[in-house]
Subunit: 123 residues, 2 copies
């Protein structure tokens, strides 16, 4: 299973009420993709705009250099992120969401709103 480069245009308004409980491999792929460790946090930074490696590293506390590299490679392979290397010196590597990645912004916003209401930071 993989992400498309261009979206399928819906032929009808989005509505899952006809068969909300039927298993959907597309849904499961999507929710487990965005829910992978650190992926949500990285996507949330990139939704705000392109960022360099060190900016991403600084934006996400406790995320190691190695894990960020690994997650970014996964996101590139999935087609959610593009990596651009500038020809200038010093070399700058910038990460940016693809159209597919940017289209996650509504999901990210909805999860953000839900978490503000329901997640308590007290342990």
């Amino acid at each position: 299973m993989h992400l498309r480069e261009t979206p399928v245009q819906p032929v009808r308004p989005a509505d899952h009420s006809d068969q909300p409980s039927a298993f959907c491999p597309r849904f499961q792929y999507a929710i487990e993709l965005i829910g992978r460790r650190w992926v949500g946090a990285v996507l949330r930074v990139l939704v705000a705009g392109p960022a360099r490696f060190n900016e991403l590293l600084a934006a996400v506390p406790n995320l190691s250099d190695r894990l960020l590299t690994e997650r970014l490679r996964e996101l590139e392979r999935e087609g959610l992120v593009t990596r651009t290397v500038s020809p200038d010196r010093p070399i700058r590597v910038t990460y940016e969401l693809t159209d597919c990645g940017r289209s996650l912004s509504e999901i990210i916003c909805t999860i953000g709103t839900w978490s503000e209401r329901w997640v308590d930071v007290k342990t």
Copy 2:
């Protein structure tokens, strides 16, 4: 970090555009909670209504008895699911979303719509 029993009422319209890239532990907790292996699929079944253990098992292909038990216990501990044992014979164990769990339906619907557009099932 844990989920609340009752939601915080937002004091302003939900809007993350003021600081979309700031790291938010609440957001990260929420996205990694719903993205855990099999959790999305189980929640999607329960959004449609209460279900018994065997109904959940039948609704999610490739999910083992042991893993479903484990995931349901986690969801109970998190406060997303309640487990009810009927007093009749044979004993019936039913799982149902709490208010907090039901409030995930918008997220689940948004991810479903996104996945229909962007996830290709061809390998």
